[in-house]
């Protein structure tokens, strides 16, 4: 299985390669792999040099602009392994973490199928309003939720955001409060990050967070 990992200041873009284009999966900051199978990570960077490191799975390998590097590894035991950028990459080098989730092959296949599906249209009125807030605001300049008109590719892809355990590249556990805090003031949590502060009225914010929380 081959995954393309692209380093960005300061998050990880992950693409599951597949011969058929509709099975290519793009996600961020959380890598799922099946246990007991060899995995190849193909690394490169679009900005500065980063380095991929999961102490309990594999040693470091740099992500270099203009060059490709490779990590071959295999996880035999299911579990969640934390990793972090190991090459100084600027202001938020400290907050560039990620997770590797190793699960039995069946669970992995199920996860992958679920991730490939587009986001379901929201049913609750609150979440429907939230989707509108999302589509109206500057979010879509950088982010994408498949199944909606949003198509930004600059920031992490959000289609199944709520299935991930952390937001902001391993910085905050995924929950309502953190999502709201991150959207309104990312610069105090991760100063220098490329996500700007967004002025959203409190009511809209609640709706937006509900919408995002439902992206499962």
């Amino acid at each position: 299985m081959t995954l393309q990992v692209t380093g960005h200041q300061w998050w990880w873009e992950i693409t599951y390669q597949d011969p058929s284009p509709e099975r290519v999966l793009r996600t961020a900051n959380e890598i799922h792999i099946p246990t007991g199978r060899p995995v190849r990570l193909v690394l490169n960077s679009t900005d500065v040099i980063h380095s991929m490191w999961v102490p309990n799975l594999f040693g470091k390998r740099d992500l270099l602009p203009g060059l490709q590097t490779v990590i071959d590894f295999q996880a035999d035991k299911p579990g969640v392994y934390r990793g972090q950028c190991a090459e100084f990459c600027g202001l938020q080098h400290a907050r560039m973490g990620f997770l590797v989730v190793a699960e039995p092959p069946e669970a992995f296949d199920a996860w992958r199928l679920a991730q490939l599906r587009a986001a379901e249209a929201p049913k609750e009125p609150e979440r429907q309003r939230g989707e509108q807030v999302f589509l109206r605001s500057s979010c879509i300049m950088c982010h994408q939720v498949r199944g909606t008109p949003s198509a930004g590719r600059v920031g992490p892809e959000l289609t199944h955001l709520a299935t991930r355990q952390f937001i902001a590249a391993g910085t905050l556990p995924m929950n309502r409060g953190n999502l709201a805090g991150w959207i309104t003031d990312p610069q105090s949590i991760k100063p220098g990050a490329n996500m700007p502060m967004t002025q959203i009225p409190p009511r809209d914010l609640q709706d937006l967070v509900s919408y995002l929380e439902g992206l499962r």
């Binding site: 200041q9 900005d47 500065v48 040099i49 380095s51 490191w53 102490p55 594999f58 040693g59 470091k60 390998r61 740099d62 270099l64 602009p65 203009g66 060059l67 490709q68 590097t69 934390r82 972090q84 950028c85 190991a86 090459e87 100084f88 990459c89 600027g90 202001l91 938020q92 080098h93 400290a94 907050r95 910085t171 100063p191 220098g192």
Partner: protein
């Protein structure tokens, strides 16, 4: 002037020379008066800025490097305060990144290399038994350039435009796209300043050691500290051009749009890493080799025997110097390199442990077979041996690729290189300051404070840095300004931070000991340790002319071999600055050459060069404009002024 007049001038000079006063006189008091007159530095501010006396320049060089050490230490303390707990709020990422950049940059470029050269500037001419360093005006120039470079980069820091890209300034992070502004330029120009200064001193040391040795100091009688400095100077000469070319390329990429490191236009980001580490690895040995020389030269005084394995130590130092150029790639194991290259550099990294091991065995053998006397310098030597062996072992560990990919850029490596640099270089250096302080100042440092100093430094250091090995193995990367509480690194980091306070306190105590002893230390006498090398053959502190008569060396331990009366050579003129030039291998006297007298032009040239360097951060045209005053100053520097030193 006509051609015949030139011949006439020459004859007149020869007549004058024949009738000139010499140091052959028996009247020592009169000799002292005349030589002090000839070699002395004028009192007052003018004398201070024009002096070319290697002892005055060496002393201010040492003081300046320790001042930078203090600043870098403060930066470390702020970082430790920030890391003492998870999600610390002492400083933000921007300041933290500047702090670790300044810490590393200052320690490597403004302290470690420079302080070794600074000690050598003071000590080497004395060890060689000569009256001044070779090219003394270049020496003055070197100090000013060094000072201005250091002040520039710290000035930038205090204006909050300090470099923030690490002491290694990897591209493309330090390139035009990801580091707009002038921060990275200050870093790159600081390189240029300090390398110019370091190269100048390297040339002076090489020529002093090769050509100004006391008569009779044949190659096999050169003291080990001089051997170490000779090898260091050669390493500086071959390593520094690499980083200078690299930092010039970086500045050009940033300022005039070249593409050396831009992959989009055919450049390559790894080229920078090769250029940097081709310098950066020898750099570690440029710091360690002088320290090893200090140990070899101190040990005889404290074990009452010549150092064991003199020849083995010389050969070890030389092979370390050569091998250190074959290791640089082990800093790049986690980039993209061919497998064969990795194996080669693993092997060479392990190979260099052999000469280092030989050195350690020789030192241990000297101590075991001697009658050790545990004065403060000796304590630091013992502390060195313990610490350096640990640092060396972890060094062999990180040389192996599979292990390195785990610990690279983690706190394990932070621990490793602090063991090598503090244990391997700073401990011997502190010991050497205790050892040579009487020669620097005429007074002994306090032994009681010295013991406190050592134990605080040794225990504090191990407490602060040993746990970092564990933090690294637990996954803590370097250069992070904070970490999350869930990672459970908090307790260990708090412990490290508290221990760091102890290390800082030990340095404060050292500083206090220096200041206290300057005024109240016991008067030292010429040779308080009953050491064997020539710097102890003159008074403490030495007179401006170093030696009333040039010593003649008859054995490897000249002062032990000639206990009753020191053989000397006479016949140098006393009415002008004259020193004896000897042959490279046999140290046979060849020339009585004049040594330049004080001049303001090294300072003016350094100011002109500073203008050029700082100006070129802002516009490439500064190189053109700036070269005009620089050329004028340099021409004035070398233009003969008609006094005897210039004419001869």
């Amino acid at each position: 002037m006509s051609v015949t007049e030139s011949d006439r001038l020459k004859e007149q000079e020869e007549r004058e020379d024949a009738g000139a006063p010499r140091d052959s006189t028996a009247d020592e008091a009169e000799l002292h008066r005349v030589l002090s007159e000839t070699w002395g530095t004028k009192p007052g501010f003018w004398g201070w800025i024009t002096t070319v006396d290697h002892k005055l320049i060496g002393r201010r060089y040492i003081a300046t490097t320790f001042f930078f050490l203090f600043l870098a230490g403060l930066a470390a303390m702020v970082m430790r305060a920030q890391l003492a707990q998870p999600e610390g709020q002492v400083v933000g990422p921007d300041l933290y990144n500047q702090l670790f950049t300044m810490h590393g940059t200052t320690m490597m470029f403004l302290f470690a290399v420079s302080v070794m050269e600074a000690v050598a500037v003071f000590i080497i001419p004395l060890v060689m038994g000569t009256r001044n360093i070779a090219f003394p005006r270049l020496n003055a120039f070197s100090y000013w350039v060094f000072l201005f470079g250091g002040v520039m980069v710290w000035g930038a820091f205090f204006l909050n435009i300090g470099p923030d890209v690490g002491w290694f300034a990897y591209v493309p992070l330090s390139g035009p796209e990801f580091s707009p502004g002038k921060r990275a330029d200050f870093w790159a120009q600081m390189i240029t300043f300090t390398e110019v200064a370091a190269l100048a001193v390297a040339v002076e040391l090489i020529v002093t050691i090769l050509k100004q040795r006391a008569p009779g100091m044949t190659l096999d009688r050169i003291p080990l500290f001089a051997w170490a400095m000779l090898v260091t100077a050669f390493m500086v000469m071959f390593a520094m051009p690499s980083v200078m070319v690299g930092s010039s390329m970086l500045i050009m990429d940033r300022l005039v749009g070249t593409h050396f490191f831009n992959p989009a236009e055919g450049g390559d980001v790894l080229l920078w890493q090769h250029l940097f580490w081709f310098f950066g690895h020898p750099e570690v040995y440029i710091i360690f080799v002088p320290a090893s020389g200090m140990i070899s030269v101190m040990l005889p005084a404290f074990t009452r025997r010549p150092v064991f394995g003199h020849l083995a130590l010389v050969l070890s130092v030389i092979s370390i110097g050569i091998l250190s150029f074959g290791l640089w790639v082990h800093h790049m194991f986690v980039t993209a390199l061919p497998q064969l290259g990795e194996s080669f550099f693993t092997a060479s990294s392990m190979l260099i442990a052999i000469p280092n091991g030989i050195q350690i065995f020789c030192w241990v053998a000297t101590i075991v077979s001697g009658k050790p006397r545990y004065a403060t310098p000796m304590l630091f030597i013992i502390g060195f041996i313990i610490t350096f062996v640990i640092g060396g072992l972890t060094g062999v560990m990180v040389a192996s690729v599979p292990l390195d990919t785990q610990v690279h850029d983690s706190y394990f490596v932070v621990a490793h290189f602090h063991y090598v640099l503090i244990g391997g270089a700073v401990f011997p250096l502190l010991g050497a300051v205790y050892y040579w302080f009487p020669k620097f100042t005429g007074r002994m440092m306090s032994e009681r404070l010295g013991r406190w100093n050592f134990w605080l430094a040794f225990l504090g250091f191990n407490a602060a840095f040993f746990p970092m090995h564990l933090l690294g193995l637990w996954g803590m990367p370097r250069r992070i300004y904070t970490y999350q509480p869930e990672l459970n690194w908090g307790d260990m980091n708090l412990f490290v931070s508290l221990a760091a306070v102890v290390v800082f306190a030990s340095f404060a105590l050292f500083l206090w000991n220096v200041l206290y002893s300057l005024r109240h230390g016991e008067p030292a006498g010429d040779n308080p340790w009953d050491a064997d090398t020539l710097e102890w053959a003159t008074s403490s502190p030495p007179p401006a002319y170093n030696f009333a008569h040039i010593p003649v060396v008859t054995a490897r331990e000249p002062l032990w071999a000639e206990r009753r009366a020191l053989p000397v050579a006479v016949g140098l003129r006393t009415d002008m600055r004259e020193l004896v030039i000897t042959s490279v291998t046999e140290a046979r006297p060849e020339l009585r050459e004049s040594s330049p007298d004080p001049s303001i032009w090294p300072l003016i040239s350094a100011i002109a060069l500073t203008g050029l360097f700082i100006g070129s951060i802002f516009t490439p045209w500064a190189v053109v404009y700036g070269s005009i005053p620089l050329t004028i100053a340099l021409t004035a520097w070398f233009w003969p002024k008609g006094d005897k030193e210039d004419e001869a």
